[in-house]
Structure formats: C-alpha cells, structure tokens
Amino acid sequence: MIRAENIFKDFSGQVVLSDVSCSFEAGKANLIIGRSGAGKTVFLKILIGLLKPTSGKVWFGDTSLFDLDKQQLRELRMQIGMLFQGSALFDSMTVEDNIRFPLDMFSKMTRGEKSKRVDYCLERVNLAGNNKKYPSELSGGMQKRVGIARAIVLKPSYLFCDEPNSGLDPKTAILIDELIYSITQDDQIITIINTHDMNSVMEIGDHIFLLHEGRLAWTGSKGEVLTSTNETLESFIFASPFLQRLKRMYAKSVHTI
C-alpha cells in the first residue's frame, strides 16, 4: 500500500497542495482526478519522490519515501514503473532499446533473456514485431504502449501513469485504459493514474480521488460518482449540459425502477 500523509506543498508561498491524505491499494486502479491546475501532477511527482513536499510523508508499505538516502531511493525506484504524459521515449533509441534500457542498467539477465523479456512486454501491449522501429515512426497510442512496456519491463510493484490518455482518440484511450487495468489486476500491483479523462473514471475507476484547489475534495468509486451529491465532483464530472442531462436521466431511470 502507498499512503500519503498530510501533504502540503507550496512554490514560493503559492500553495499547490494542502493537507492531502490518502492511500492507494494493490490490484486496483487508483485514479487522481481534478481540473487543470488542481495539483494532480505535483501530487504524483511527490508520490514518486521527484518533488519534495513542504511537509507531510509518503509511505511505501512501511518505508517513508523522504527518509531514504539516495541509494535506498534508487533501489525503491527500481520497483516503480512510470508512464509519462508525453511517453518520454528516448528518441535516439529503437523501441527495443527503449524497453531494454532498464534491463541493461539494472538486471543481470543474459542477452537472450533480455530479448525474451522485451518481446514478452511488447506482446503484452500488442506491439509484437515493432522492435526495430524508432519512436518517431509510431503513432501517439503506440508510443504510449511502448511507454507502458518500458514501465513494466522490470516487473514493478508500483505503476504510475501521468495522463495516459491525453492526445489520444476515445477508442485508443479505452485500449490504453484496458491495458493498464489488466496489468494492474494480473500482476496485483499498485497503480496510480493521474487523469481528467471521464471515460477512464467511469471505466476503470476502482478508487477515485478528486483534487480541487490543492485539497482532496472527494473519494469514492466509479459506482459512487453517479449517485454522489458532492458539488465539487458534480461540477467537475458533469461539467457540460449534455452530461448533466444524462445524469438526470440516469437518476430518473433508477428512481422509476
């Protein structure tokens, strides 16, 4: 389990996160949602230790993230996979080299074992046979899938995804969601997804955390989203008149039944 305890963060006096506490469970898709500027990315960067909070703690099991020395932090990070918003694939490397990079850096596998592992990860994200392509030759969705393959190549215990669906068409976005969800369930890892994609919320949102103006405004599951009366949640999820109408129709149908 990953726990965030009373996280505060400010940049030169401007408060970005204020007293955020929550915990994330294994085998479930934990979604952090919120409007742009709500502090999602900062929170995610704090959770993985790329940013230090002004105060507060992050626990990975019984380990306090910010009490680790550099070597211990590096060891912990080897258990973390991360999918970046822009995929962050190394342009000068092929797909295969990108995925193999963490193996080359940290594993003691033989060359053959590494190749097998890379092929397995590529198959897992439905990109078998694309080993020799460069990131520039791939579509946005394919780049995201390579990013996922690289994130899981070291068999991580924790998977972090920053806006995995941004810039993708709805169908590809659903495929990416399904892929992340199946990896989470099959490998029983702790997955934390930073998103403002409503499809993701309603499809894979096992545990949802709504950040609003730097505070945790609501937590619940995808089933509770439709029935919640939390105003901040409603104004965020059902922002358009179309979705508001849809919610009223849903409430009516539930009431009729």
Partner: protein, 247 residues
C-alpha cells in the same frame, strides 16, 4: 552575487553526484564511445580549418612586425610554434569547441529535461547526473587534448603555407625556427590547458542543460549561457594556468 554563489554551490554539489560510481559500466562505455565520436570526429574538420588560419595569421603578422628589424628571420617558425603550442591551439580550439560542442551538450540535456527523459531515468533509479555527464566528460577529456594536438600541428603547417610558398621566408628559415629553442615543458602546458578547458566546457554546458526549466526560449538561453560562461571560464583559467606554470 547571491545568485552566483547559489549556482556555484549547486554546480559543486551536482558534480559530486556526477562523479558517483556508475551503475553499469558497459552502458557508460557505450555512451562514452558515442560521445567521443560526436565530439572528436564531429569537430575535426572545423578544428582543422581554424587551425590553418591561426598558424597562417600568426606567421603573416609576425613577418609584418619583424620587417626592418634585426630579429633573425628564422624566428618566424619559432614564434608560430610556441604561440600555437602554448596559447593559440588550446585556447582558440577550446573556445570554438565551447561554441560547437558546449551549445550542443546544453541543448541535448535541456531537451531531455523538457521531454521528461531525465525524469524517466530518475524514476528507473538511474543516477542521471552520472549517466548523462560522466561519458561526455570522459570523452571530452580524451578527445579534446587530441584535437588540440592535431590543431597545433595543423597551425604550424598553416604558418608554413602562408609564408614559405609566397616567398616571404625560405623553407630552411621556417624549419630552422621550428627546431630552435624547443621546450618540451610547453607541450606539457598545452595538454594541461586542454584538459582543464575540456573539463570546463563539458561540465558548465551540461550543468546549464541539466537544470533547464520552461520552454524553447529558456532552452535557447541555457545554450547561450553555456557558451558564454564556458568561454569566460576558459579565459580565466587560461590566465591562472599561465600564471602558475610560467612563474
């Protein structure tokens, strides 16, 4: 002043991080070879071109200065040789490399920072300062002295081609000058300068790129700062080395 101290402190701490033991030697070795090719082979032609002109201009200027004087004519070869070895080859070449290689390094690392490549490596557990700086530094420390040495040699040939075929001096005079008053210590000084300048241009440029924040304008600024600060520090250290090694 506070800003200067802040950057100096951060630079020193960052260097400490960059000199940590590599996670996997093989990966660093591969990257070092790539950088040697980039810095060395990629800069050979430009170093050759400027070196020819450095030698040629030195020879022509000296010939002009000594006209009507009682200075022995063969001194032209001696002056070109020593000017080139002691000062012009290491300083000019490294200032040029600060422009070519330094801006390239700052832009490469800055681009990696902006595209979150450095964050991605950090998350994997890679010591990014070490992985991104050590191979470049080792490559520069090996290749830059070689380039400077080649540059000095070409400069001397450049001086010859400027004044001998044109008839200002005879072949014998130039060669006699080259063979006169040779001090091996000067070559040692050239290599010391080349090492120090290589260290400065690589680390300063990498530092500027590594900590880039913002967008393309900031990346451009970082690249400019890399060149300007490298050149200033090269000239400053040139003066310090000259003071120490010639006193």
């Amino acid at each position: 002043m506070t800003k200067l101290l802040y950057h100096f402190g951060r630079y020193v701490l960052w260097l400490g991080q960059a000199f940590r033991k590599p996670e996997r030697m093989g990966m660093y070795w591969k990257e070092t070879l790539r950088q040697m090719n980039n810095i060395g082979i990629g800069s050979l032609i430009i170093i050759g071109v400027i070196s020819v002109f450095i030698g040629a201009v030195t020879a022509v200027q000296f010939a002009y200065q000594m006209e009507g004087s009682i200075i022995p004519r063969y001194y032209v070869g001696y002056v070109v040789r020593d000017m080139t070895i002691i000062e012009l080859a290491p300083t000019f070449s490294c200032m040029l490399l600060a422009g070519k290689v330094g801006s390239n390094l700052a832009t490469e690392l800055g681009g990696m920072r902006q595209k979150e490549h450095i964050d991605a490596m950090e998350i994997m557990g890679v010591n990014t300062a070490a992985y991104l700086v050590q191979p470049k530094l080792i490559a520069a420390l090996v290749v830059v002295p070689m380039l400077v040495c080649i540059g000095a040699f070409i400069s001397i040939i450049g001086g010859y081609t400027a004044v001998v075929p044109t008839g200002w001096f005879s072949h014998g005079e130039y060669i006699q000058g080259l063979r006169s008053f040779f001090e091996p210590y000067n070559v040692w000084m050239m290599f010391v300068k080349a090492f120090v300048f290589a260290f400065i241009l690589t680390t300063v440029s990498c530092y500027q790129g590594y900590f880039v924040k913002g967008g393309s304008i900031e990346l451009g600024d970082a690249s400019t700062r890399a060149v300007v600060f490298s050149n200033i520090l090269i000239l400053l250290s040139d003066y310090i080395i000259a003071m120490i090694m010639t006193s």
